[in-house]
Amino acid sequence: MPWIFAAVVVLLIAGHFVLTPLLAFPSLQTWATIFVAISVQALPFLVFGVLLSAAITAFVPASFWTRALPRHPYAAVPVAGAAGAVLPGCECASVPVASGLMARGVTPAAALAFLLASPAINPVVVVATAVAFPGQPMMAVARFVASLVVAVLVGWLWLRFGRSDWLRVPARTAPAGSRWQAFREAAQHDLLHAGGFLVVGALTAATLNVVVPRSLLTTVADVPVLSVVVLALLAVLLSICSEADAFVAASLTAFSPTARLAFLVVGPMVDLKLIALQMGTFGRAFAARFVPVTFVLAVLVSVAVGGLLL
């Protein structure tokens, strides 16, 4: 095996000097820059989320969660959603953490509310939103309210209509071997798995980013309902980290505040890299139902909250 390692290193270094000058097309380079940027930028958050999730699985006893959350599932959903406010991170971190919570016996609906809420309502994102919209403090407030409402609604919907065989709930056995061994193996497996799907999302997002010109979108900025849907779809396509999307939303000046709110609410809940991550973590049957429901609810709630607050 060591010689394979050495061979790959030699290939990469030789390739760097031989191939790089041959691959210098502006379109390919721009695509590769965005692809690498999304991957590299998401990696620290993914690692943080995976380590936290592995720590929850290996070190936090299952009984903690049954004591910390209300026993009644319908009450646990809003509590778990609001608890998302304390995890500073973006959406890449929340998927493995939610999966770790489910593995420790937290009701899936509550873990899902946490999954949706935490990337949008944590302090880092709220501050970033307030900074990106100077003089419009209601934008940060509206984002917080709308995101929490969507997360709780989706959690309750899952509780009422969700079927357990749609969701690949991680099994609930405690690790029997050494805790550190369990921690390392859980972290390695989740990192490889979630990382692979992150790459799928980054590939798609980079391709669309280069192929679809943004000017195409601004032509519909004046149409009331369509503009909301278009910005919501743009949030899905661009897959921007929730800590940065407020700045992009602020730059879309041609659009109404409500449309931009939809961009901010949909982005952390539904985007291409997130869909790939959820599909990989919770299964295709789950993603096929969860993603469209979340998207529709996020758009509807954004319109309602935007109408009330903005």
């Binding site: 790959v8 820059t33 930028q41 900074v131 990382g195 692979g196 000017s215 921007i240 800590e243 992009v248």
Partner: protein
């Protein structure tokens, strides 16, 4: 994907991240400078996990893969079952009941998810394509730059005699949002790369503004008048004076601000390519 490949992929990924953060400033092509400590930490964690996995493999050379899998399963049965119940090697949902598990002992538990091979792609991209900072291709469209996200209404007055160097974002902010028109008649110096325009009499000095990573980059453009256009993507310092629009009625963000250049100097690419 066996344990050795899993660990190798992680070593390569962690190594590539450390290569672009610790051994060079390439990471600045992709993310903001403030991201450096997080990237180093993430790269170190991934590398450490990979190396720990490799060491564990090398310590057990006397066991074949199959024996090792079997033994580790026997030793830590319930833990490995947890993994099994979540994924099989195709990343598909697998559901075992106790009965199935009883027949499952021969399965190779050291197999990781196959999708993890994709993690090689960023490594190959970093070493083989060596993606440069976003340039004229990313800023090519003729649409005007959007309003800089943060504009202040109170700008300090500019010096009369000397040339003031300023970021392009500040220039656009002063041109669009400054009620005192502090740019009028003042000589300023802007740094950026050259983007051609469809109009004959101008080209754009451009800098891309990042908020988090290159995927959210916004090109900030200032039209340069009365100067010959250097080759596309050349980094230049442009010295000149703002052209105040004839009418105040053009809404901000529809037309790029203009600058009459007195001097255009080619410079090497700055270490921090973005604003």
């Amino acid at each position: 994907m066996n344990r050795m490949s899993q660990s190798l992929v992680m070593v390569f990924l962690g190594g590539a991240v450390l290569r672009i953060t610790l051994l060079s400033t390439t990471y600045l092509n992709y993310v903001k400078p403030g991201f450096h400590p997080f990237l180093v930490a993430a790269g170190a964690v991934v590398l450490a996990l990979g190396v720990a996995g490799l060491i564990q493999e090398w310590r057990k050379p006397y066991l074949t893969e199959q024996e090792y899998a079997h033994r580790s399963h026997a030793g830590r049965g319930s833990h490995d079952d947890r993994h099994d119940a979540r994924y099989d090697e195709h990343g598909e949902a697998v559901r075992h009941d106790a009965h199935e598990n009883a027949h499952h002992d021969g399965h190779d538990h050291s197999r990781g998810p196959r999708v993890a091979w994709l993690l090689c792609l960023p490594v190959f991209a970093i070493f083989l394509i060596a993606p440069p900072a976003l340039g004229a291709f990313a800023a090519r469209s003729e649409e005007p730059p959007p309003r800089p996200p943060v504009t202040s209404d109170t700008y300090a007055p500019l010096a009369d005699e000397t040339v003031t160097a300023m970021p392009i974002g500040e220039f656009i902010g002063r041109a669009w949002a400054d009620s005192t028109y502090s740019l009028t008649g003042k000589r300023v110096r802007l740094t950026g790369f050259v983007v051609p325009s469809k109009k004959k009499d101008r080209w754009y000095v451009t800098r891309i503004q990042l908020n988090c990573c290159a995927a959210d980059g916004i090109p900030l453009k200032v039209a340069v008048l009365k100067a010959a256009q250097p080759p596309v993507d050349t980094w230049v310092e442009v010295t000149g004076t703002w052209v105040r629009p004839k009418s105040d009625k053009i809404p901000n963000g529809t037309v790029a601000p203009e600058l009459v250049a007195t001097d255009v100097t080619a410079i090497p690419r700055p270490v921090e390519p973005y604003e």
